[in-house]
Symmetry: C2
Subunit: 310 residues, 2 copies
Amino acid sequence: MSKLVIVGSCAFDAIETPFGKTDKIIGGASPYIGLAAAQFDNVDPAIVAVVGDDFPQEYLDFLAERGINTDGIEVVKGGKTFFWSGKYHNDMNSRDTLATELNVLADFSPKVPASHKEAPIVMLGNLQPQVQLSVIEQMDVKPKLVILDTMNFWMDIALDELKTTLKKVDVITINDEEARQLSGEYSLVTAAKKIHEMGPKYVVIKKGEHGALIFEGDKMFFAPALPLSDVFDPTGAGDTFAGGFAGYIAQAGDTSFETMKTALIYGSCLASFTVEKFGTERLQSVTPEEIKERLHQFKQLVQFDININD
Amino acid sequence: MSKLVIVGSCAFDAIETPFGKTDKIIGGASPYIGLAAAQFDNVDPAIVAVVGDDFPQEYLDFLAERGINTDGIEVVKGGKTFFWSGKYHNDMNSRDTLATELNVLADFSPKVPASHKEAPIVMLGNLQPQVQLSVIEQMDVKPKLVILDTMNFWMDIALDELKTTLKKVDVITINDEEARQLSGEYSLVTAAKKIHEMGPKYVVIKKGEHGALIFEGDKMFFAPALPLSDVFDPTGAGDTFAGGFAGYIAQAGDTSFETMKTALIYGSCLASFTVEKFGTERLQSVTPEEIKERLHQFKQLVQFDININD
């Protein structure tokens, strides 16, 4: 088993879309990343997160039943779990945040359990860059691959700290606007080169419904997003993408560009399920057969045959 | 030789980008479509357009030298050629129109030369839908494939006329926002289905830097745009795409989905050259070797190998 340490928020989400609304359901980056990574054989996804004691034991059991190690989920006595609520507009591409109650997440100081400190792969979900760095520093053995997700918020208020953390990171995942902000370059090709110079060997640029790019030096690869008839709830798609990406790499056991390419496709594939139902619901029910079928659809979507030697 | 009739504007463009500005250069949809289509062997691109007598003979000669039949370019005595001027912003994705002087284009009534009336492929560049329809009606033999490009402007002011014309069209090319406007559907999959019901068997959705999709019934295929370090001038990229698409189909001589897929890649490939220099400059100098090399880059960009049977 290949251990994949996943650090990220664990939350209650209340989501409203044009198709309906939920009560407080399990949310935050780490459950999506964990559930996506748990789809892979021989991968042991282990979440490091913090919740309040209002977080139901059944949610922890639910994660454990799906093969996710929850030893690193700290439960703060008397604390309240991070709560996020949002409402999507009709186009499903924009949303209003109705509530963000950080609660115990505000003082999150991740404690990596001793049993996790030699994990080969570490996936750092979007958090304060100093908090992400503290996880890297707790590892006893330098991981084979550290993947970091971040966002424009940290570029706005903690750019120096982010740059310090990036020096210890192998893969960064950000969206196209964030890549432009971080690099000061409009071209994504040039942006990736500049971000590469900040530390990460691999730069993953997420473009939502427009797919994702990965750059390593002069190499680049593009994974499309699958065009869907119905997007029910986009929440967690980006985290599912990261979980599928990290999970496939953990399973493959190497960090070649070929592995990264396949990982990008798996990330995009799993994310295409998440958006079909509320929250983590679809990711809970997806079967290996359905994943195979959808990978086939991805192949059909982009594979072409031009004899360029004629 | 397979004749490809191209109907579209022929213009003077004056372009300003962050990298410089041009005097009045050759522009409009039909020169880009024609130059792109002229890249293919055994294709005889024939432009039907209108210009004023201020349009230099050397421009007509220039097109003819590149293998484009100019018999259908009407020169209006005492008339002035359509003039467009635009200035791109720093991000190159948005622009201000500085001048639009329709001149002779305002009364454009295309006259298809007798020698063009049995052409198997007709590419209708973005024009008033009634004008596009008049071209279809002038054909002596029903073409194997009629491709129509249009835009939101005609959906706003001439929707009924557009719908009438669409009934006679095999392929429509529009951008994603226009597909949503025309269909009233946000999902591009659902939008394509609705547009299909309006007439076109094939629906091509152009997403600019995010690539292009083609739909036929339940089949879909995606051609990425090649991420580039430098975009010098985006003018004409969409028309070059259309010209590469139509040109490849004319060369292939069939209208199977496999042919459409390859055509989409060729369109995207040729468009990636156009944006590298001002106007049609790059398209004039591109060599078959450069096109092959770039097709190889497109393959590298999206081809992946997952054994989905294991």
